[in-house]
Symmetry: C2
Subunit: 569 residues, 2 copies
């Protein structure tokens, strides 16, 4: 039984990521202090980012998401014995009483309500699912995917074979991860509906999101973007029926509501703390709230974007953990600042890795920044190495200043190094030219002699020298082709035969000409100097070399299809 202390030096509200991290660090810094953490749920310190991998069956037991790496559950005993602070579960803080410096706590099991004093308070209440904008009946088979109970409920149904058809409403981070989770082990047929015209809106630009969509589709997921889910009903047998505008009713055995989350700030707002324009708790760069005795971290706060200096809401477990350290250091008297966020993310959709950091081109332009973008298609190690895997990347930078703004990368290859390195370049306000000085580790099983980031800097330099590029996808390449365009394929004859350009591209152009790059200097007569030419190859470099040969030969209107055919796969 929990015997409430009357008062603790430090009280922490919330027991998932930022809360326990704060409390544990604080206990190490100030071993004499009393620290009490209140957690509404029964579970503490669970790995919420691991939920999709428990749902999928990759992670066998839910307890693995709660245990330490050496198999001990992170429960109240663990936190008291090992970490040196009190964690109280099933204890809902219902009010913060700033004048008295207490919190009101409702003990969910016993039902009693106590008041517990604090000297300094930490709010780590996390985020909660957005309410669906459409009518949704109450059902165990229609749920968000954020709480342990959601995840366990789905897994049990799946394991019993009761889910054959899943509908995922919302194509953000969790929605995309769930496509793989439900399909791979359970063989559930999945349909994904996203209201925006693309998957992963705000995170990726449309042409990069197209690659993710193709990857989901190649793995049997039915993906509809720009899809308006009007209503969800229950059929007579209790299974959901999803109504999508312009589509017949879609039956499902389970519906995931992946409609995003918003910061849980009810306590903070009720006690008069400042709330930011994104809906998160306002904090300064020490993570103090508008009350200097109250700090906040994790998914409930509003962050500052390092590139735009604007407030953003960015619920990521990696940030929450870093918040915890910063708060604890400040509470322990070691002034420490949180530098703001860049939005680094990674996710997996089947064999396709998706990642990014910084601003997409759309986000940059939306923030009033004059943004340029370049693309590249890469192998993550030399093509001669049997382990080589591909990926496509887009780099965004500011026109004029050439300040780096963002990187997006999609593919089976090692995008992780590049996202993380790019993040560190963004952190220091680096320019395109700084990328040339990056010294990467090189060995054929792991990388090429020049890194993709070097090549992206090179493409940006080519843009400056006047070479025109079009990006992949519908907004780029497809839009650049019309009946006045010659599409020039400079791949080898065998490649062009084995892996022809998509028919819709060839059809969109006036004509398709295939001249291998090595023969181009000798076969210029097959082209007209007045033509508008778009050059295409597998990844881009050959097209660029071809464009230079054509320019030197007096062709005035030559555009390179950036990232080539690989970006269209």
């Amino acid at each position: 039984m929990y015997a409430p202390a009357e008062r603790s030096d430090f009280v922490v509200i919330g027991g998932v990521a930022a809360g326990p991290k704060t409390a544990a660090t604080l206990a190490r810094r100030l071993p004499g202090a009393t620290i009490t953490l209140f957690q509404k749920e029964t579970h503490l310190s669970y790995a919420a980012c691991g939920f999709p991998f428990f749902a999928s069956g990759e992670v066998n037991s839910f307890s693995e998401l709660v245990n330490t790496s050496y198999g001990i559950p992170r429960d109240a005993d663990f936190f008291r014995g090992t970490k040196g602070f009190n964690a109280v579960t099933s204890a809902e803080v219902t009010a913060i009483n700033r004048a008295r410096k207490t919190v009101t706590v409702k003990m969910l099991e016993g039902g009693e309500t106590i008041e517990h004093g604090y000297d300094r308070l930490v709010i780590a209440t996390g985020a909660v699912p957005n309410s669906p904008p459409m009518p949704v009946p109450d059902s165990e088979r229609i749920r968000p995917f954020t709480r342990p109970t959601d995840v366990v409920a789905f897994r049990e149904l799946a394991q019993r074979g009761e889910v054959e058809r899943a509908v995922i409403v919302g194509g953000g981070f969790i929605g995309v991860e769930l496509c793989e989770a439900v399909s791979e082990l359970w063989g559930i047929s999945a349909r994904l509906y996203e209201k925006q015209p693309q998957l992963l809106p705000y995170m990726l630009d449309p042409e990069m999101a197209e690659i993710v969509k193709r990857s989901l589709e190649a793995n049997g997921v039915v993906v509809a973007t720009g899809a308006d889910v009007k209503e969800i009903e229950l059929s007579d047998d209790g299974t959901p029926v999803v109504h999508v505008a312009g589509e017949g009713p879609v039956g499902a055995d389970y519906v995931f509501l992946c409609l995003g989350v918003h910061p849980e700030v009810r306590l903070a707002r009720a006690c008069g703390l400042a709330i930011g324009e994104t809906g998160g708790i306002s904090v300064d760069d020490t993570l103090a709230t508008s009350d200097p005795d109250i700090y906040a971290g994790g998914d409930c706060i509003e962050s500052r974007h390092r590139l735009t200096d604007k407030p953003v809401f960015m619920p990521l477990g990696s940030l929450a953990n870093r918040h915890g350290r910063v708060i604890a250091e400040n509470l322990a008297g070691n002034e420490t600042k949180f530098p703001g966020v860049l939005g680094a993310f990674l996710l997996r959709a089947f064999a396709t890795n998706v990642g990014g950091v910084g601003l997409s081109a759309e986000a940059a332009r939306g923030a009033g920044i004059q943004a340029n973008a370049v693309w590249g298609a890469f192998a993550d190690r030399p093509d001669y190495h049997p382990g080589t895997k591909k990926f496509t990347a887009k780099m965004v930078y500011e026109e004029g200043s050439r300040r780096l703004l963002g990187l997006q990368a999609v593919g089976e290859g090692d995008i992780f190094r590049r996202v993380d390195v790019f993040s560190s370049f963004l952190q220091r306000g680096a320019t395109v030219e700084d990328l040339y000085d990056h010294e990467h580790g090189y060995a054929p099983p792991f990388s090429e002699a020049l890194d993709p980031l070097h090549h992206l800097a090179g493409v940006a330099a080519a843009v400056d020298r006047g070479q025109g590029f079009v990006g992949p996808g519908a907004a780029g390449l497809a839009a650049a082709l019309d009946d006045g365009t010659v599409l020039l394929d400079v791949r080898e004859g065998e490649e062009a035969e084995d892996d022809p350009l998509p028919r819709e591209l060839a059809d969109a152009a006036r004509r398709l000409v295939v001249i291998p790059l090595g023969e181009l200097r000798d076969r210029l007569g097959e082209l007209d100097r007045a033509d508008r030419i778009v050059v295409m190859c597998r990844r881009g470099p050959r097209s660029y070399q071809a464009a230079l040969i054509l320019r030197d030969a007096g062709f005035g209107n030559v555009t390179v299809a950036a990232a080539g055919l690989q970006a269209l796969e």
Copy 2:
């Protein structure tokens, strides 16, 4: 047949990495210029770093190391037709005549000698193997591993089944890579002899090199460090016999001489160009030699280390390619600087990845820098994720200024991200505290919520707060234990039973005490406050937490075994 031009605007000597990269970039920047590249060998632009993977059979045909990624050989026709410059093979430049601005070229096939004028010259003559310091007979079965002919010769013998026993003399980069190359596919039994007391000297500190050694041994390679190879002879049947001090004669079917390389500067020296103290051609930060009309790049130059500002010789293909771009830009009139080197490297030894960047602790101290080091043992993603893999890392930083100096990482996990990110932090002169601000991409299939680099910064902070650590291996942990020490194992009982501490550690201490961390606060009576205690766990964090508990309880002499048992595996 080659018809020599009398004179080219640009002449490039050397056709492997820096040479072709310079010529190709220059041809793009200055399409009207005449550019001639002379290459002594018959092959151009081959992927020398891929040799071990051709030797191993992973790369099937030597032509893959010479072809473009789309299957076209990088020969003279390719460079003329596609890249726009003349490449002349089997053409050995025998003299640089600076007064006349010509090079003397001996055509190795026809035998004639020509003189070819230049306006600007680029030297990219690479490096050549060091001569063995011991007597070595002339034999096709005793060779370095640097030229295409060496590699093809070995592969042919191996493929014919004529090599059952290989001896590798020299445990540097190539020697270690060859252990895997000969063992894996061909099943050759390999013995590696290294003169220094450790493998990979200068690149890794001894305790990190011990991990590599154990990995080779676990894969059946016999490794002897501190081994003095006195002489190599030929037996009557023509197979080599290796004589090692203190060991009987070792018969072999093939001996690899991996004794390092030195810059090939004979041409440069003969024409009076400045040669640096490391033996490489002296260049300024635009890569111009002491003659402003002559540039040099690749393995033949002396580099400047970015952290010590001292000259170093660093033959790496990734640097050579970056040199090529810098030289070409400068020759094209776009002033561009090369920022010096950090020494980022990666290599693979069986399933163990090895990498580093910057200075080892020994190298830093050798350069007169007051260097501290911390260690960490990590999983590259959460332990609950089935794909998780381990690695051990060491971070070196300057005492006082806390400037970052170097990272070394060894293990099966994703060390690549960390080496590359650390490299970018070194590039900007970052401190330990800057690592906390690193925003990495996080998702359970790829990473943990906090990155190993965050944890390493945390260990460095713990050192500052007075916590003592000992590094792994013979120089650290083994040296810290004596008959006055209590070795405290704070792992769970089951872990300690399933995977007991190495007997030699337990034996070296006065006594071994096993108390799981969660019970430590309640079982302090089993320890004596006057004891010298070394705490041990699997990876280190539990030991650190235990040390804090003990310190708070009045124990005055508690040291943490950094990186725990994992670093000893």
